[in-house]
Amino acid sequence: MNEEEVKRFQPIGFAGWELYLMRFLFAIVVYFSISTVVHEVAQPEPVGLARVIDFTFMANEEVMNWCRWGVAAALLFYVSGRWVGLALPVVCFFVLGYGALKNSQAELAGHSMQIVGLVLLAQTVCYLWNAVRNRLGNVPASAQTRLEAHRAAAWVAMQTAVATYVVTAISKLYLSELSWLRNAKYFPVQLVKAQKSEYYNTLEAPVAGDGIMDQMVANITGWFMESPMICRTFLGTGLVLELAAFLALWGRKSALAYGVMLVVFHLTISRVMSLTFDLNIYVLLIFLVNLPYWGGRLFVRR
């Protein structure tokens, strides 16, 4: 058995090339999570950094272009693994500002950007903490200290991604006063609402295909109405998956298994309820599923 498989809930000993790919892929996600055109010209209910800084300057297309260039340049340093402690705070500031502006629109705020903002914030703090600790401890900069810093950053990214799922599950239990599963029998109301809302977005009736997923989507409301038990089992599985998401941090294999399960979970909800979780899926694929590693292992074995 591999030594790293024996250590449970411990930082994974990622190789340098894995960490490089993770940073490269996450940099792409971060860059494209920022729109070229920002419509928000006011901050009616400021949140986060928008409480102290007015980010409506991002609605100016020219200014936003410069911001994106700045972010791209800083991301290049992040990907290269050099001067990350200086470059990542710049990226973090712009992404948190952009997200704060988007989420300062009172009731129109959304939840798509949180996972990217949280991972960036956690990684920024991690790199800065490492830099300060090494400076105070007079640890000379070397390839090994850089590798350790990148490993620590990947580990905090994994924990942060997992935390969003654990929090979601706790909120469901807390806000519903533990009656979430009991009231899950009303989920078909949400399904119909989501499907009809989606219809009025385009006026195109969903095309029913022959695949298992298509059949499931077409029949699911009827099944859930007919049997609240099926409905509770379906939703309960999702709740347990979210609540126990910290098990993804057990080791490499559990990260892969949990990452895949959460991606399937998101894809199912996307299909059934016409919701999108693109950024969540990308973060899971990069930091938990880590396909390059498993693909590499498969290739080496053959």
Binding site: T164, K172, L175, K196, L203
Partner: protein, 172 residues
């Protein structure tokens, strides 16, 4: 300080030191800290307690908009505005009205039984917002479809039966 109190303080300090030493070794610090911050700060970007679908009710509703001929308008296809966003805006305007009804002493019976008259101002605001936020290249097409009308469709479950009621709340 008595010897006993001194001993007690030493025990407490020892325990605190033990907890601190344990915390320093604990490998999931980020998980705990991020989770705690999300739950405490709630909606303060990038933190969130992710309250979506945290409670289910036997009632919900969706909204849509019709043109001058009473035909539904494909909001996202035409204007790049999703019906869910329009609903969020409508609901944000409905919430103060709901509070006023509640404060007026009338028995509060939830959105489904809020009088249509009470909902008209919120629906009119939503139509105005929709027109103002239409993407520039769709303005001409939208103008040809005005006056617009705002519809709210209530959905509820009773036993194994689901009912939908379409109400035309307001028009321009």
């Amino acid at each position: 300080m008595g010897l006993r109190a001194y001993d007690d303080n030493l025990v407490i300090a020892g325990r605190m030191g033990g907890i601190w030493a344990w915390w320093k070794r604990f490998p999931l610090k980020t998980l705990v800290v991020i989770s705690a911050l999300c739950l405490v700060l709630q909606e303060d970007y990038p933190f969130s307690h992710f309250p979506m679908y945290s409670s289910f009710s036997d009632y919900s509703y969706y909204v849509y908009v019709t043109d001058r001929n009473g035909e539904p308008i494909p909001l996202e296809a035409l204007m790049s505005i999703r019906t869910s966003k329009l609903k969020k805006y409508y609901q944000s305007k409905l919430n103060p009205i709901r509070e006023r009804v509640r404060e007026s002493g009338k028995q509060w019976t939830g959105f489904r039984r809020l009088d249509i008259e009470a909902r008209v101002p919120a629906a009119r605001d939503a139509l105005t917002w929709l027109v103002e936020n239409c993407k520039p290249d769709a303005r001409d097409e939208l103008e040809a479809k005005r006056p617009l009308a705002f519809h709210q469709v209530g959905i509820w479950v009773e036993g194994k039966t689901m009912t939908e009621v379409d109400e035309r709340i307001a028009s321009e």
